[in-house]
Symmetry: C2
Subunit: 189 residues, 2 copies
Amino acid sequence: MATILLPLAQGFEEVEAVSLIDVLRRAGIDVRVAHMDGEDDDPDLVLGANGITIQADTSITNVIEEDFDMILLPGGWDGTYILAENETVQRLLKEFQAKDKMIGSICAAAFALKTAGVLGNNYTCYPGAKDEVNHPGYREDQAVVVNGNIMTSRGPGTALCFGLEIVKHFSGVETYQAVKDGMLLEFCD
Amino acid sequence: MATILLPLAQGFEEVEAVSLIDVLRRAGIDVRVAHMDGEDDDPDLVLGANGITIQADTSITNVIEEDFDMILLPGGWDGTYILAENETVQRLLKEFQAKDKMIGSICAAAFALKTAGVLGNNYTCYPGAKDEVNHPGYREDQAVVVNGNIMTSRGPGTALCFGLEIVKHFSGVETYQAVKDGMLLEFCD
């Protein structure tokens, strides 16, 4: 069973994070959601961009790369900037890349891959984030772009299909089809 | 500005609840998420069907019908059975119906509308929930069915488009289009 790390920082986009976690867990993938610590009394309660608070499973400081097959970043600008500045997240991205492990981002979070130096030259992101990401190889013709070990997607409306593509990678086409049918995701290619 | 009550019971489907809250709040609609109380130390932290815990804004016991324009139920079987058995939720559904206010459900939650006697004879729900809902007028040809003041939808894959239809009802077509474009929801009719 694959294990995926999903770092969650204040200001994350809720549909993106929850769609990914939900789809992946339905496929039997072990998703662990890691908060950024900080000075709050309840650092495990992470507030999203649209006022929805989600409880994380662990602290990013407890995470080691060896325990995971993929690191996957949800979007939302405020959360993305935190992920781009968090030393642990940035170090983990480089460690996953050095071991050729899977790395994923959706929406603005491509920016945090770029700051870690792991965003290749064939990727996608939120159209309105393209200028801020400011990196060669942006594509707008696919909901999900797979470039070696880097998987990227565009925004809230592509999050469920992005989750399905990750399911296909780790769990195969039969599980992909079962989750797709069960969630009524006919619109995903 | 419209105000919508979203009751959240343990076992709710996370993509459905979060998609609805996110889309509606992006349109400027005031969504208040109400937990069911109970005996937990933190009744505001509500655990979903796929292990995602979301923090509710208030208790259902604090809610009065006068404060809201719509009551909207997310799916997930475990959560649905609780909503169907909760006296406050069932009373609120009848009060909204008596005042011809908007009522919505997605996925299995049509069952909780049926138990309150407010599910009309032109609705949809999760295909696999049809037999348990066991009510005449089920349709499978539309992602969202609008039947007077009752709006129903099918499952996780239709939740974003369902939210958009509610936005169109309360906020008009310009806001609908702006949220649709901003979330990359080209697949919604």
